[in-house]
């Protein structure tokens, strides 16, 4: 084992253990503990809990290491023979990894704890439940052990990713997360819906894996091109100034583009990996459907960690992305990010599924981070990545709590309350009544995630509501108190300084974000309950103890997390702040020669960010406050009865937004159908042309030839043999005439022969 020279705190040597802790939990659950759901959950929590404590211990130690950005800690050893050299594998600890270590294991830990409640661990199994379908309320999921194994493996992937010291390992952990994401989205693999158009979990998992695989493949191509140039994929080697210089100055001729620096091409290809993983346009389509997974998964993978791995990748490889200063690579990143931020925010306006709104807001916020990176706001993007993880995890977990509350309310309403009868009608009436096998289980058509079915949950689920609102305010960038404000404000300030077009786009996106967040909060928690399920929703079941404590912890961070990054020049508060975050990450940026000085204070972005956050929230509140009002005691007959106040003013645009600009349909027609058609056609070609015509044709030709041969054999060859026989026989019979047995005849023949020969000898010329 080779280690870097300078003296580091001893605890750093434990870094490689971090990803192994949850991995050990995974292995133990799979091979040993899977029969006991409690034990499995305990192992997973124990593994990630230890990783959390150790991770914090290590990260906090790094804060006091001098010049840590310039001299990161590395542990590595030769791992792969690559011709005459070896590629080393190992773990690296630098400020970026340290900052991520504060967030990742901790958020994972909270989500694991939450999952205990969400999956109903400790509750009895229901006889009605099938494997691969959500459990009835009040019962444990039958595959809960499997769930904890998957998320433990997932945590391994994420922790490994942030500590990897080379691109190959990063890719390995990246794909482990992709695998877990696939498995977890499709966790309820047997689930099906009455509406054939609604995507099922198994299809959503497949969609997620294949869509991200496209990005991953392009990223792999970029990595391999890079590898071919640099002969190493260790970050320490790639980011050497002379190497970057060489990549930026040597060019490749691309058809249709012309001479392009290798650095640009490689950076864009690698960025495609991030586009896939972080669900940026045009590969964004998988993330909203990924909400088919259990809610802790949505929080863990599709908000806090895995999707932010894409952003992390760009931050990690930033020296490469920026090798050509203000080059097309960075512009491409900025453009993609800004466009996605706005694009996804518009879609979020018209979604009614509580998790889908959050999914689109995630896409939008990730776009924010990419836009920030594209314009050079290295530190701000990192900051937003961290704060976003806290409040988005909070929002998702809150939404999971709401969903469970609704399911409980629905279940409860069905068991004893006659007034729910009206609900039953529209739930089961139209659709072939599939629930006959399971009396009193979840009726198929009731959607506990549809915000139109909610309303007034504030009083029913106060802890959930308070924490959710805190998260929502952080997402909107509510000034001063929330973490989201500080990180978003910093991005806007950078955008104002570097690229004003990006600034405008991001400001509009921020306005929309605040607006749809207010819409979501109002639709869910305020007004009056619009259905019986909402009427009976509650958070009193014992599972909510597991679920609400993580919510509160996250709420604390959604607020306080921003205080580490208050700019020094911020009016008033700045004097109190040392901006430790900027200092910490900035030291790394400096070591990598990335421009990361704190910007001078400017009032325009500050006022903008105050304006859009408060304006959006107020506007949302005003518009949705009165929407969907029902007479007291009455419930919504069906979700479409709730008329969205935006539907009329937006006119034909509204269904377009609701249908996500029809990208799913377009992709389905072009790519999926196209590939299927091509493959069917090729198969026909294979069996008809290559096999039947050519191969069997050769075979048939062979047989035909052999038939010809047989004919030839019997008629010609054999005929010849027989013919020779016959000729011989005939000759014999002719000769027999000569064989007379009389000496004078023989003498006569002899005389004639000799005379002829002698005559010929004498007469013929010599």
């Amino acid at each position: 084992m080779t280690e870097s020279v300078s003296s580091f705190p001893v605890i750093f040597n434990l870094t490689p253990i971090l990803p192994l802790l949850p991995f050990a939990a995974f292995v133990l659950i799979v091979l040993w503990a899977n029969r006991s759901k409690k034990l499995s959950a305990g192992l997973a929590i124990g593994g990630i809990g230890l990783a959390w404590i150790l991770g914090w211990a290590i990260a906090i130690t790094t804060f006091s290491v001098e010049h840590f950005g310039e001299h990161p800690f590395r542990v590595f050893r030769d791992w792969l023979p690559t011709g005459r050299t070896w590629q080393a594998f190992g773990f690296a600890l630098d400020p970026l990894a340290g900052a991520m270590l504060i967030m990742v294991p901790f958020v994972c830990f909270l989500i694991f704890v939450y999952a205990v409640g969400y999956m109903g661990v400790g509750k009895p199994e229901s006889a009605n439940d099938e494997r691969g379908k959500p459990a009835e309320p009040g019962h444990v999921d039958r595959l809960a052990s499997r769930f904890f194994a998957y998320i433990a493996l997932f945590a391994t992937g994420m922790i490994g990713l942030i500590l990897a010291d080379n691109l190959i390992m990063l890719l390995v952990f990246w794909e482990i997360m992709g695998l877990c994401s696939y498995l977890l989205i499709g966790f309820w693999f047997a689930r099906s819906y009455d509406d054939p158009k609604q995507i099922t979990p198994k299809e959503a998992g497949l969609k997620a894996f294949l869509t991200t695989r496209i990005g991953d493949t392009l990223m792999l191509a970029g990595m391999l091109l890079l590898y071919a140039r640099t002969n190493s994929l260790s970050f320490a080697d790639i980011f050497k100034p002379e190497m970057l210089e060489q990549l930026a100055t040597t060019t490749v001729n691309l058809p249709g583009v012309g001479a392009t620096p290798w650095a640009t091409l490689i950076a864009i290809l690698i960025f495609f990996g991030a586009i896939g993983k972080s669900a940026q346009f045009p590969l964004h389509v998988w993330l909203p459907d990924a909400m088919e997974g259990p809610t802790p998964v949505s929080a863990l993978i599709h908000a806090a960690t895995m999707v932010s791995a894409g952003v992390y990748l760009v931050i990690r490889t930033y020296p490469l992305m920026a090798a050509v200063e203000h080059g097309p690579a960075l512009q491409f990143i900025a453009f993609t990010g800004a466009f996605t931020a706005l694009f996804a925010a518009t879609i979020a306006l018209a979604q009614n599924d509580i998790k889908k709104v959050l999914a689109y807001s995630t896409i939008s916020q990730l776009g924010y981070m990419f836009a920030a990176l594209g314009i050079g706001a290295y530190v701000a993007a990192t900051f937003h990545l961290l704060t976003h993880a806290f409040f988005k995890a909070l929002l998702f977990l809150g939404s999971g709590s709401v969903i469970h509350g609704m399911e409980h309310g629905h279940h409860h309403g069905h068991q004893g309350h006659g007034e729910a009868g009206k609900l039953v009608d529209w739930e089961t009436g139209g659709h072939g009544h599939q629930s006959t096998d399971h009396p009193s289980t979840n009726l198929p058509s009731f959607d506990p995630q549809d915000m139109r079915n909610m309303g007034g949950l504030f009083r029913k689920m106060p802890r959930t509501a308070w924490t959710f609102i805190i998260g929502g305010l952080a997402l909107s960038g509510f000034p001063i108190v929330t973490a989201g404000f500080w990180s978003k404000d910093e991005i806007l300030a950078d955008a104002w300084a570097h690229n004003q077009l990006v600034f405008v786009v991001l400001a509009v996106a921020a306005l929309l974000t605040a607006f749809y967040t207010a819409r979501q909060i109002v639709m869910t928690f305020f007004g009056q309950p619009r259905t019986a399920a909402a009427e009976h929703a509650s958070e009193h079941d014992s599972i909510f103890q597991w679920m609400t404590i993580p919510l509160m912890a996250l709420a604390v961070f959604a607020v306080a997390g921003g205080w580490v990054g208050i700019p020094k020049e911020f009016p008033g508060l700045g004097a109190l702040s040392a901006n430790p975050f900027h200092h910490y990450i900035g030291s790394l940026a400096e070591a990598l020669h990335i421009e990361a000085a704190e910007l001078p204070f400017n009032a325009v972005p500050l006022l903008t960010s105050l304006g859009v956050a408060l304006g959006g929230l107020t506007l949302g509140w005003l518009v949705y406050r009165g929407a969907g009002k029902l007479r007291a005691g009455h419930h919504l007959a069906s979700p479409p009865e709730y008329v969205d106040p935006l539907a009329r003013p937006l006119g034909p645009l509204y269904p377009v937004l609701q249908n996500k600009y029809y990208f799913d349909e377009l992709y389905h027609k072009v790519f999926i159908k196209g590939t299927q058609r091509l493959s069917t056609w090729l198969f026909k070609f294979d069996s008809n042309i290559i096999d039947d015509t050519l191969v069997d044709g050769v075979g048939k030709a062979g047989r035909w030839l052999s038939e010809v041969g047989r004919w030839f054999d019997t008629h010609i060859v054999d005929g010849a043999v027989n013919g020779i026989g016959a000729v011989t026989g005939w000759f014999g019979s002719v000769m027999r005439e000569f064989q007379t047995g009389k000496a004078q005849n023989y003498l006569l023949v002899g005389l004639v022969t000799v005379s002829v020969l002698l005559g010929a000898f004498l007469l013929l010329p010599k």
Binding site: V30, W79, L80, P81, T82, G83, R84, T85, E130, R131, G132, I168, L171, V172, W174, E175, I176, L179, Y182, G186, F189, A190, S192, T200, K202, E203, L206, F209, L210, R213, I214, T217, L220, A221, L224, L225, Y227, A228, N231, T675, Q676, L678, S679, T680, L682, F683, D686, S687, I690, D691, L694, V695, G699
Partner: protein, 526 residues
């Protein structure tokens, strides 16, 4: 002892095969079932011997020294300078191990599944092992050729006799036989041609002498004669259509060896004979080989996507996977003589060789897994499957690991081979590599969409398959039963390899690396 080790490994299976033919029942006064049990267990026991010896070879091979070791070289037919020359290096070692390993698993599995004509089956199976091992140890062209042909016959009978009637076993068997034989005719001509120019049949000698190096025409002809023989076996597009038929018809263990080892004979021939003996000609035609590889990758994956018969699907996926081998070898051949590409080409070859090994493991396992479901349901139609993961969770777990290995998921063995093939190819033939990389997406599509989703996900429907067989007792059931003990024993070693090599591929890669760095630096004149 050390120089007779290879002879022992090769011919122990022959001895075993002959032993199965003896009338044990009469001698030991056993009834028919007892005799069959004896033959089965005896065959397994005997096959363990070559496996143990292969492990001995591996541990006894001196990597620092490199080159051919455990050599034996004695005259065989003196008049025409044919030698009994055997030896192993870093390329053949893992393949010998793979052969003996898969044979043991195949025999173990077949002992529980094969019910008809037991004696013949085990006789042929052991004979097949001899043929395959013989190819990997031979360093003399005539010896190579003899073993090459010997391997054909048992496989022909395995497909023809134990195939399912509905899969046209006779047609498939004869197609397999004739196709390979047609290829080997060219090979024989080229072997004879080498002899007449160099006076030797020795592979190592011939690689030094480089026959026909001065004649573009003759070296080209010899190159293509060998290449076509091997490309048929690989199989490369467009010579691949015998494979789906042969696989579909073959009994499970036959498919395992067919995919696991027989296909590798072709790739091995290219690496062992074509590349070292005809480097200039190979370099000239390298781009054609690369193109064939890329076409195989993409075409095989697309056609897999259109299959509904699980076994046929996996057969086509083999075409796609073996395409990576051709891509790697072709790219390396294109780099012959270019000093800056020594490392890149060595890595491409490492990837190709590793792909041979990991494809042997993962596709071998896939065919076992298909056998598992076929023995229960007597069906391979994906449309009839669905929701098995809730009924057969253990089976699902092992299948999933295998499937993900096959699609090249990082962290599992298949990833490294693809990575290194592309590492070399992106350096040497970037345009082709870009097209080939498409295969990665398509592979994920047919594995996850076609195999995993149609077989395991969704709701289990009891009406689709009403009768299930209990593989241990033969009783009829209404619901499938999860893996039996003997199936777990068959599958776990393979899965363990996928995981171990996925995490730490260096032991295997380093063996290949030593061979190929030496070969490629030799070409580059360094």
């Amino acid at each position: 002892m050390t120089n007779s080790l290879l002879t022992i490994i090769t011919f122990v299976p022959l001895v075993g095969a002959l032993l199965t033919l003896l009338p044990w029942g009469k001698w030991l006064k056993l009834d028919k079932a007892g005799e069959e049990r004896l033959i089965k267990n005896g065959a397994i026991a005997i096959s363990l011997l070559p496996l143990g010896l292969a492990l001995m070879l591996w541990s006894g091979y001196d990597q620092a020294l490199g080159g051919f070791q455990f050599e034996i070289n004695v005259p065989w037919v003196k008049a025409i300078n044919v030698n009994y020359h055997m030896g192993v290096d870093g390329l053949s070692l893992p393949l010998i191990f793979l052969t003996t390993f898969l044979t043991v698993l195949g025999l173990w599995y077949s002992a529980r599944v094969i019910k008809t004509r037991v004696r013949e089956f085990f006789f042929l199976f052991l004979l097949l092992e001899m043929g395959m091992t013989g190819v990997f140890v031979s360093l003399d062209l005539v010896l190579f050729y003899v073993f090459w042909e010997v391997g054909l016959v048992p496989m022909y009978f395995l497909i023809g006799i134990w195939g399912q009637a509905k899969d046209r076993p006779q047609y498939s068997a004869i197609k397999f036989f004739l196709y390979t034989l047609a290829g080997s005719v060219f090979m024989l001509l080229a072997i004879v041609a080498i002899y007449f120019t160099t006076g030797t049949f020795d592979i190592v000698e011939a690689a030094k002498l480089k026959p026909f190096a001065d004649s573009i025409l003759l070296s080209g002809l010899a190159f293509w004669a060998f290449f076509i023989a091997f490309a048929i076996k690989v199989p490369s597009w467009p010579f691949h259509t015998w494979l789906p038929d042969a696989h579909t018809a073959a009994p499970t263990a036959g498919s395992v060896l067919l995919a696991g080892v027989l296909l590798k004979l072709g790739a091995y021939g290219i690496l062992r004979i074509v590349l070292p003996i005809f480097p200039e000609a190979f370099k000239r035609y390298a781009l054609i080989v690369v193109a064939l590889g890329v076409i195989s990758i993409v075409y095989g994956a697309l056609v897999s996507l259109a299959q509904w018969d699980l076994k046929r699907l996996i057969a086509y996926s083999s075409v796609s996977h073996m395409g990576y081998v051709l891509l790697g070898v072709g790219a390396a051949a294109y780099a012959i003589g270019t000093p800056k590409w020594v490392d890149a080409s060595a890595m491409a070859l490492n990837g190709a060789a590793m792909q041979m090994f990991t494809h042997g493991i993962s596709t071998g396992a896939l065919f076992f897994l298909v056998g598992v479901i076929y023995e229960r349901a007597h069906l391979r139609d994906l449309k009839m499957f669905g929701g098995f993961s809730s009924k057969l969770p253990y089976y699902y777990g092992l299948f999933a690991v295998t499937a993900f290995t096959s699609l090249g998921l990082p962290g599992l063995a298949g990833f490294w081979s693809e990575l290194f093939v592309f590492r070399g190819a992106f350096d040497i033939v970037p345009i082709w590599a870009v097209i080939g990389v498409l295969g990665i997406v398509l592979t994920a599509a047919y594995i996850l969409w076609k195999i995993i989703q149609y077989t395991f996900l969704g709701q289990y429907d009891a009406h689709k398959i009403a009768h299930w067989t209990d593989v241990e007792t033969g009783a009829e059931l209404h619901e499938p039963k999860d893996l039996a003990f003997f199936e777990k024993v068959t599958l776990w070693p393979l899965v363990a390899f996928m995981i171990f090599l996925g995490i730490y591929p260096a032991p295997l890669l380093n063996l290949f690396n030593t061979v190929f760095v030496r070969l490629m630096s030799g070409f580059a004149g360094k």
